[in-house]
């Protein structure tokens, strides 16, 4: 470690998003994802990839067929520009590091090994459930902001498959009515969704040297814990609110600087309540526009935070805020300024992408327009 790190202060160097590659239920590419979330059209269909007879739920947001995760990850890394030689190798004697968020079981090792073989990268796998990818982004941003790295590659992948579908169904986490309804009365839970996403994060100098153009800037980040329960969030959202304030501190910004919140919003009863409480703590006078794009692309588990970061970047670049689909009836305990019915023009400012996971893990990422 170099002795130049900041503690919780504004980054010394800008952390830029230099490329994004995406595969989601909306198809290939950031444009397809952006079009899908801005259309507000949920991508949930009956699962054909495997049998769902005997389960409570039968829908997910999947792409066609049964793609291989390693193939999808290599494709999005190429699409993001991660496989082109950087102008300056930070580690000339070592393979370039890839922070890779995957479900933490035996399959992670072989997938990471295949990605390594086909790309020449050195994957380091993050397995922390729904904050795996955003934790990787935070680590990557810290490495760039402190000058340790010129660029860091982050990727994440989850494809809907029988084992996780079965265990989420057994846990009664999946919505039986086939829709994800974040922050709405009557919400029944989440639905799973495919995602493979790669993001190239780099310094301004690295981006300039290769003649690239930034898609966005990671202005702030933070990771916190609730210290509350195995799997339930703190009902007051204290850890999540602390993550948002930590990200704001790093960005040198006040809550009023946030113009959009891409919420975790999985559609779970307790999770949405805790998140609404956290947002009320951060924005006591009322929130900026809020939506959960999980309502259309589903919950991609370890890849969810990177998919939502990509959707947030896409929305900022389009100047339009996606709707919170599936919403039916106000929940008085979720007093948020939800984007409903149709996309809303994006106001100038930062976008906040927040995620929460089992174990009381929370992350906040602040995204600025390029």
């Amino acid at each position: 470690m170099t002795p130049t790190a900041l503690r919780n202060g504004p980054p010394r160097r800008a952390v830029l998003v230099g490329g994004i590659g995406v595969r989601s239920a909306f198809g290939a590419g950031l444009a397809a994802l952006t079009d899908g979330v801005l259309a507000g059209r949920p991508a949930f269909t009956p699962v054909e990839r495997f049998g769902t007879a005997g389960y409570r739920a039968d829908r997910a947001a999947t792409g066609p067929g049964s793609p291989r995760l390693a193939d999808q990850l290599v494709a999005v890394l190429a699409e993001a520009g991660a496989l082109s030689d950087p102008t300056e190798q930070q580690l000339p004697d070592r393979r370039e590091e890839l922070m890779l968020a995957l479900h933490g079981d035996r399959r992670a090792g072989p997938v990471a090994a295949e990605v390594a073989d086909r790309t020449g990268l050195h994957p380091r796998v993050y397995t922390g459930a729904c904050v795996a990818a955003s934790t990787a982004v935070a680590d990557a941003a810290a490495l760039i902001a402190t000058g340790r790295r010129e660029r860091v590659l982050v990727a994440a992948g989850y494809l809907v498959e029988p084992d996780t579908f079965a265990v989420f169904d057994a846990g009664r986490a999946l919505a039986q009515d086939g829709a994800v309804r974040p922050f709405s009365l009557g919400r029944q839970g989440m639905l799973l969704g495919d995602a493979a996403v790669a993001v190239v994060l780099e310094s301004a100098a690295a981006l300039h040297r290769r003649g690239g153009r930034a898609l966005a800037r990671i202005a702030g980040w933070a990771r916190t814990g609730d210290a509350f329960h195995v799997c339930r969030p703190h009902p007051a959202g204290t850890g999540l609110a602390r993550a948002v304030h930590g990200a704001l501190a790093r960005a040198g910004a006040a809550p009023e600087a946030i113009g959009y919140v891409n919420a975790n919003g999985a559609g779970s009863k307790l999770g949405d309540l805790a998140e609404a409480a956290a947002l009320h703590t951060v924005f006591p006078a009322g929130t900026p526009p809020v939506s959960s794009t999980k309502s259309v692309h589903g919950h991609a588990l370890e890849a969810s935070a990177l998919l939502e970061l990509a959707a947030t970047v896409g929305a900022l670049r389009a100047g339009s805020l996606p709707v919170n689909a599936g919403w039916q009836t106000p929940d008085p305990n979720c007093p948020l300024d939800l984007v409903l019915d149709r996309p809303r023009p994006a106001a100038p400012g930062l976008a906040l992408s927040i995620n929460a996971a089992f174990g009381g893990a929370n992350t906040a990422l602040l995204v600025a327009p390029a």
């Binding site: 470690m1 993050y126 265990v167 800037r217 195995v230 040198g252 910004a253 930062l350 174990g359 893990a361």
Partner: protein, 210 residues
């Protein structure tokens, strides 16, 4: 991902009353005059790292032949979570005494396991392959964050909760990740646990500070 309300969630015993700030407590002072998009130039004086992290306490499992893992309420089928919990407990007790670690510096929990909870994965795979009902409790322990949540609640440690898999193959790399969490400001100490489910099962834990 959070627990649905309709299934009894495992409750680690004992879970002390949380000491985290209540909702009404200020989390940070807002700065209304801050610009909407900040200048990202050099605006702060770097805080120097003090070099390698200090080891405040260490533990391992097994410590001796016939060492045993206490069960944890709500965790079933697999020894992975008990393995992580017991090894972490030994390390934290060596430094803090019995839980909770009231007043401890903000502590991150970082778990590294190359193949994760193979016992839970195998139980799940068996059930789906045979068309059997999947035990609902497997949902809660189906990712490594769950046991970290158990530790965080029991010890009242509210730093980052991080789980890592393959690719972090030596202690130096894990210490670098721990140092990054500290230097980045999200934690003041880091409990690093490594766990491999065998046979034989083995795990280590180390509490690190600047």
């Amino acid at each position: 991902m959070t627990a649905p309300t309709s299934v009894p969630a495992p409750v680690p015993a004992p879970v002390p009353a949380p000491v985290a700030a209540p909702a009404s407590a200020p989390v940070a002072d807002p700065a209304p005059s801050a610009p909407p998009v900040p200048d990202v130039g050099p605006v702060a004086v770097p805080r120097l790292s003090a070099g390698p992290l200090r080891v405040l306490a260490r533990a391992r499992w097994p410590e001796r032949p016939a060492d045993e893992l206490p069960a944890i309420a709500g965790f079933v089928e697999s020894a992975f979570s008990p393995l992580v919990a017991e090894t972490a407990e030994r390390c934290l007790r060596a430094h803090h005494g019995p839980p909770p670690a009231t007043g401890a510096p903000r502590t991150a929990l970082l778990l590294a396991s190359p193949s994760g909870d193979t016992g839970t994965a195998d139980a799940l795979a068996r059930a789906t392959a045979n068309g059997q009902r999947v035990a609902p409790l497997l949902f809660f322990q189906s990712n490594p964050n769950a046991v970290l949540g158990h530790l965080a609640a029991r010890w009242q440690l509210d730093g980052p909760v991080v789980a890592l898999g393959p690719g972090f193959d030596d202690e130096r790399e894990l210490h670098e990740r721990a140092a990054l969490l500290i230097e980045d400001g999200d934690a003041e100490q880091v409990l690093v646990v490594t766990a491999v489910q065998g046979p034989p099962d083995h795990a280590t834990a180390v509490l690190l500070a600047p």
